[in-house]
Symmetry: C7
């Protein structure tokens, strides 16, 4: 698996039928709607201005909700993934 740099993580994008049963459905409004995915790789974390690297809050295997327009798309073995900054992840499901 690829190793993301800094505060980046790699997410396998979940199709609608795969979505968690946590009962999350998105309303039909004009506001930004998040997407869901599963974390498959986690970077070492962001370096702060005191030179300290802080580990991300997410771990491999976490189901997460993230900003729809964030990240860079890649296909890994034909499957849609995203390389995304942890700051664009809204919540662990």
């Amino acid at each position: 698996m690829m190793k993301p740099l800094g505060d980046r993580v790699i997410i396998r994008v979940l199709e609608k039928e795969e979505k968690t049963k946590s009962g999350i459905f998105l309303p039909d409004t004009a506001k930004e709607k998040p997407s869901e995915g599963e974390v498959v790789a986690v970077g070492a974390g962001k370096v702060y201005d005191n030179g300290q690297r802080v580990a991300p809050e997410v771990a491999v295997g976490d189901k997460v909700m993230f900003s729809k327009y964030a990240g860079t798309e890649v296909k890994i073995d034909g499957v849609d993934h995203l390389v995304i900054s942890e700051r664009d992840i809204l919540a662990i499901l």
Copy 2:
């Protein structure tokens, strides 16, 4: 319940009839008007430039007032919620 990341909290948006009896009504002017909600989940807090994470000031159960256009809408069990940064919460009611 979902676990929001960083300084984010999840808020159940209050309908008008649910609003607190604290006597807050919004004037009919052109200025931005806040909304109200109840905190249902709280992130671990923002990491500052010294690498220290500072816990949010709000707790689960707090009724809060927040900027109307802030946050990301999600439905949880059919109910409108918002994932919002604590910095967009104006006050605890």
Copy 3:
């Protein structure tokens, strides 16, 4: 009373007839003109990059002058108030 978050304070907006007798009148020029009000609630203060929270300089009961276009309007018991960042308060009268 509501508890404002971070460096925010809540101000009861003073009507013209209530204004302090300190002799402050605003000139009729194109420059931005400040408004006046009384502080009714004070947040815990801003967190700085060293993770330290610094208490605001204003206290409940202070009469203050603030930027006219700053803050978010709310009505409390039918009276106009503003939730405003302390950095938008110019001076204690």
Copy 4:
């Protein structure tokens, strides 16, 4: 006298005939031209990212030169004053 907040100071704007005899005259060019005034109140100073407040360099009674378009105009007892950030003061005359 009002107490300005943070790094703000209050300046009584000097009319042309009052100007200091230091021989400062402004050239007729397109560049920004400064104004002159007398400091009548000084804030406690700016808080830096280490949480430390640093006192302003100016004191009450100093004659100063400041950016023409900076600050917020107020009239105190009918006299033009400016509430201005210390960073917009160029020099003590």
Copy 5:
């Protein structure tokens, strides 16, 4: 070999036929698509606000994925290379 400054690294851009066999293919969508390359030189790292220099996470020989529009193109012995900031490298393949 050139020595890149700060947080920069030099990357030999991989042609399509050279691409790693990790099974990464890019989807045909409107989102930004990354490129691939091999790190051939690494800078001493970025200096943070505490005056500390932090070494990059990548090393010479790493195959990396980077933002398509990042960096400055140079030819070294007729071969396409990029001088790129480490922050524009998404992941080590």
Copy 6:
């Protein structure tokens, strides 16, 4: 002499015939061209985010080269001067 605030210095602008004999002539291209002057007053220096004030690198009497469009023009005893931030000074001649 005026006392500039913060990282500002006051420069007497050198006329062309006064220019240093260091052999500096400006090319006739579209790029920004620096001006020359002599430092006549120096501020106490910029305060950094750790609350520490760092003295400027220039001293009274230094001949300096500075960005042509930087600073605020003042006339002192009829002579063109500039109040300028030290960061807009390129070099000591």
Copy 7:
């Protein structure tokens, strides 16, 4: 020789026929192309937010590659030089 301030260095711009024999040629694409030069003077370095000055990575005599549009042109004894921030230098050749 002039003494550049802060993180600035002075570079003698290399003409094409002078260019290093390291085999660097620039491709004919739309991307930004770097220029080459020789460092002739080095500033004391940038001051970071902890008040510490960090010396530049380059030294007098280094051949460097820099962003084509960076810096301020000066002629020294009739020869084209650039005053440039170290952060605009990409690599030591």
